[in-house]
Each structure stands twice: as C-alpha cells, then as structure tokens.
C-alpha cells in the first residue's frame, strides 16, 4: 500500500509493508534527514525503530500502529537544527593492500590521492551499518571506487575506506566491502554515551594525513576521542 504526504514542503512517498514497517522516500535528501530526526525524537508509541539513510527512512512498527497513525506522522514538526561543527580527522595512510586497486581505479598515485582527499570537504551524511560507522559525503566523483565484489571478512576498527560515493570510517572490527586506505588513531565511537558518536549529521570532517610516528604516539593515548583530539 502506497501513498504520499506533504511534509516540510516536500512530497514524501510512504509504503506500508503489512503494518510491519513503513518506508518513507523522497528525492530531497536534506528533507529525509530532517524528517527522520524529527520522527526519532518524537518517540511515537507505534514506532519501535527509526533508521534514516540518505534516500529512505524505515520505521519498524508495533501493535499500536494502524494506518490512521500516518496522519500523526504527517503533522510532525521539525526540531531545531544543531549547529554544524567541523572536526579534523587524523589519518595515517599506510601501505594497506587495497591501495593498488584504489590507485588503478582512480588513475592517480597514492600521494596525489591523499592530497586530494585532504582538500575535499566531507560531511556526515548518515549513521548506519554498525555502531560508530560514519558515512562521509563529499567524495569527488573520480574517487568513487566501487565496493569490492566479495566483501572482506575482517576490517580492523578505525579503518578509513572508500565505498562508492562515500568515504567511511569503520569504528569496530567487522566484515566490510570497502577499500581500506588508512587508519585513524582517534576513536569516533564512545559507548555507552548516547548518541554513541558525539557528532551530528551534517557535521564537517577535514582529513589530515599524519605520519606513522604521530599515529603511534596517538595510539598510545588509549583511543583518544575525535572531540578530545579537536579540543
């Protein structure tokens, strides 16, 4: 069952999957973020989980949901936007094995690629995958190295990687299909704080290349947080 709603001056398509979950879609990415955030903080009793990605919001429903509740979603108001902050993310670009594939796809050498990444303006476009994983928007088109055909079974925590249009940071050890190009000595994941990353959507990230020596020194500081590092 599908219908559309006017929300925040945009048209939102809503698909209802058997009252099990709703998928909300809009071509307007900024509106999806705003609506997703507003729904999450509204704490509707009929919504069990809210997952916001760039183009879709998924609402897991419970027994309190019926189709009339969609009208309540239609009346939601946008909350205040948090101030956008800028953080520097130090990355040691080592000799990760994925570099060969990255260099060959982009057609530049490692040094040139690192210099380009440092000049790009990244922003947090969504939380997702696993706790602490950051999807960073702002990767220029020629750097969109496609994900691996067969995901690696193990990617080390705090790996920095390219996956299609995103630059990503793996906060936890996990399987992963992105090409790893470096590691950050700082930690973005700060459990059990809530949110587990002390960052907001849209916050800006600037990549700073660091040498191995500095990387090792920072590592000794026992997982210094991104905020502390920027303080």
């Amino acid at each position: 069952m599908s219908r559309s709603l006017q929300l925040f001056d945009s048209t939102i398509e809503i698909d209802n999957y058997n009252n099990d979950f709703l998928i909300l879609k809009s071509a307007d990415r900024s509106v999806i973020r705003k609506i997703g955030k507003a729904i999450f903080y509204k704490k509707f009793p009929f919504v069990e989980e809210v997952i916001v990605t760039e183009v879709e919001i998924c609402l897991k429903l419970n027994q309190y949901f019926d189709t009339s509740k969609i009208e309540e979603i239609a009346k939601i108001e946008s909350g205040e936007n948090a101030k956008v902050k800028t953080y520097i993310l130090p990355v040691f670009f080592g000799d990760q094995e994925d570099w060969a594939a990255v260099e060959s796809f982009i057609g530049l050498e490692k040094g040139e690629i690192i210099a380009s990444l440092m000049s790009m303006d990244f922003s947090i476009s969504m939380f997702g995958f696993l706790p602490g994983f950051l999807y960073l928007d702002g990767l220029e088109k020629p750097f969109h190295v496609p994900r691996k055909a067969v995901p690696s079974k193990y990617v080390k925590a705090n790996s920095v990687a390219i996956g299609g249009q995103y630059l990503g940071v793996y906060a936890l050890d996990s399987p992963g299909g992105w090409h790893v190009i470096g590691h950050t000595p700082v930690s973005v994941l700060q459990t059990p704080a809530l949110p587990p990353v002390l960052l907001n959507l849209d916050d800006r990230i600037i990549i700073q290349s660091i040498e191995e020596e500095e990387y090792e020194v920072l590592l000794q500081k026992n997982q210094i947080g991104l905020k502390e590092y920027n303080a």
Binding site: D15, Y17, N18, D20, I23, I51, V55, K60, M126, Y135
Partner: protein, 279 residues
C-alpha cells in the same frame, strides 16, 4: 481426532485462554487464565497461537488419560506431576504416548498450573474466547468445570515430514524488481544454513539465483529478518546483531514470529521460504 480423558477432575479444573476483551461494557467479565505469565510460557513452549485454549488447574490437579500420542507442556505451580508414575517437572515439553496417564497432587509453592496440548483443541469460542465462565455457563467445555469422563479432542498440527523447515516470508521493498524466474527459484529452492552464519546474519547455501538485481545506488535501512540478495545470487538474512543499513536489494523479510524458528535451525540445516501474498 486424538483424545484425552479426564479420569479425576481435581478441584476447579477448567479450560481458559487469555480471556475476553472489550466486553465489560456489557457487564461480561474478562475471565481467562489467572496466571497469564505461566499460561503464556506453556503456549510459547509449544509454539501455539496466543489465543489457544489450555487447561487451568487450581490447588488439586487432575488425572488425565491420553488415548493417543501427542505433545504437552505443563507450567505454573508444581502439582507433583507424574507421567506413568514417573516424576515430570513443569516448564518442559514432553511427548505423550497412547495410554499414558498424567497424575497430579496438591499444588506446592503456588496455586495454579497449566496444561497445554500441541495442536488445536476441538472447542468453540464464545464471545471470541475459549475461557470458561461458569456463572453464565459459557465457554470452555460446555460452559463448566471439567469432570470425570470428559473427553477433549484435538487436531494435530501438520507435522513437517520433509527434511527442511519452512519459513514464512513477505515481499520486501525490492521484491518486484526480481524477474519471474528468480522469484520462482527463490521460493522453490531448498537452502542450507551456511557455515559462515553468525548472530549478524545467515548466509544461505544452495543454487544461486541466476538473475539478480543490480546493487542499490544508496545504502538503505535493514531490520532483523530482512533478506538481502547480493550479486552472488545467494540470499543473506540479517539477524539480531545485524547491520542497520546495507546496499543489497531487500527482496523479502521473515515474519516476526518465524524469526525464532529460523534462528533454531542448526548450521547446515535445510530450509525453504514460503511467501504469503501481502494483505
């Protein structure tokens, strides 16, 4: 139909379910089990629907003779249950053979107990409930407490005689993008729970779907139970520790109540998807 017979009724043994709803307006009481938790445990042990009837015992339990094979669960207070004079503990499922005699004594450490039978007891609902309300003589077995000689019949659920488990699924967001051939294969293949499966997800092994869907342009939300189709053509089922977003098409999702069944299939076990059309 399989039968059981009440040899001794006990004190106040009756058929109950979770009771009647929304009828106090007409001065009809709720009725139903007195210990909802114990009753629900019995239903869950046998994977019975939440509105299934069970036998409630109070203070002095019944003696029951089984005329046929079956499966039962006993919960609540311990009535010193014995089966053919061998002690049985509450809160476990046990098999019953034709001619078995279940006996009980006085409840200890509690007052009420429940006996649930696997299958469907052959009773009629009154006001949308199986609960016995003796004052108005409605519900349960002839609207009264069970007595010596009463015979209850039940229908056995269809036992899965095949060597695979069936898992009920519903169409997911990208289901319609599957080709007809792929849909057919997906719903007729018998899959094996892959060795790489863990709390994050199940990797299925078997014949890969020949026609898959292109990877999605964006990462999209996924919930436990979502079935993703990677380019390999072998579906992945996201589980309890699963990621919250992913880029593979979400062709279907496992109905909530079937997730438990799915998660009990051992590595290497066989399963097959069954799809009921959406509402």
């Amino acid at each position: 139909m399989p039968k059981l017979e009440i040899i001794k009724p006990g004190l106040m043994t009756s058929i109950q379910d979770l009771g009647r709803n929304d009828l106090a307006y007409f001065a009809i009481p709720k009725s139903g089990v007195m210990d909802v938790n114990a009753a629900k445990i019995a239903l869950l042990l046998l994977n019975l629907d939440a509105d299934s009837p069970l036998i409630e015992c109070t203070s002095i339990g019944p003696h029951i003779l089984f005329h046929d094979d079956g499966e039962i669960a006993i919960t609540g207070a311990d009535f010193n249950w014995t089966l053919n004079d061998k002690v049985v503990r509450p809160n476990v499922v046990f098999e019953i053979k034709k001619g078995d005699l279940l006996k009980s004594q006085v409840a200890k450490d509690g007052l009420r107990g429940y006996i649930a039978v696997k299958g469907k007891l052959n009773l009629e609902k009154v006001y949308d409930s199986f609960s016995t309300y003796t004052n108005a003589k409605i519900g349960g077995h002839e609207g009264r407490l069970l007595k010596k000689g009463d015979v209850l019949e039940w229908e056995n659920e269809e036992v899965e005689k095949v060597n695979y488990k069936t898992i009920l699924i519903k169409p997911g967001p990208e289901f319609l993008s599957l080709s007809e051939n792929a849909k057919q294969d997906f719903l007729s293949n018998i899959y094996k729970i892959g060795r790489d499966s863990n709390r994050m997800g199940i990797r299925l092994e078997g014949a890969p779907l020949k026609e898959t869907i292109a990877r999605l342009k964006n990462s999209v939300p996924v919930l436990p139970g979502f079935i993703q189709l990677p380019p390999s053509g072998l579906p992945i089922i996201v589980l309890q520790d699963g990621q919250t977003t992913g880029g593979y098409p979400r062709i279907a999702y496992v109905s909530q109540v079937y997730l438990s069944k799915l998660n009990q299939i051992p590595l290497g076990g066989n399963m097959k998807f069954v799809m009921k059309e959406s509402i």
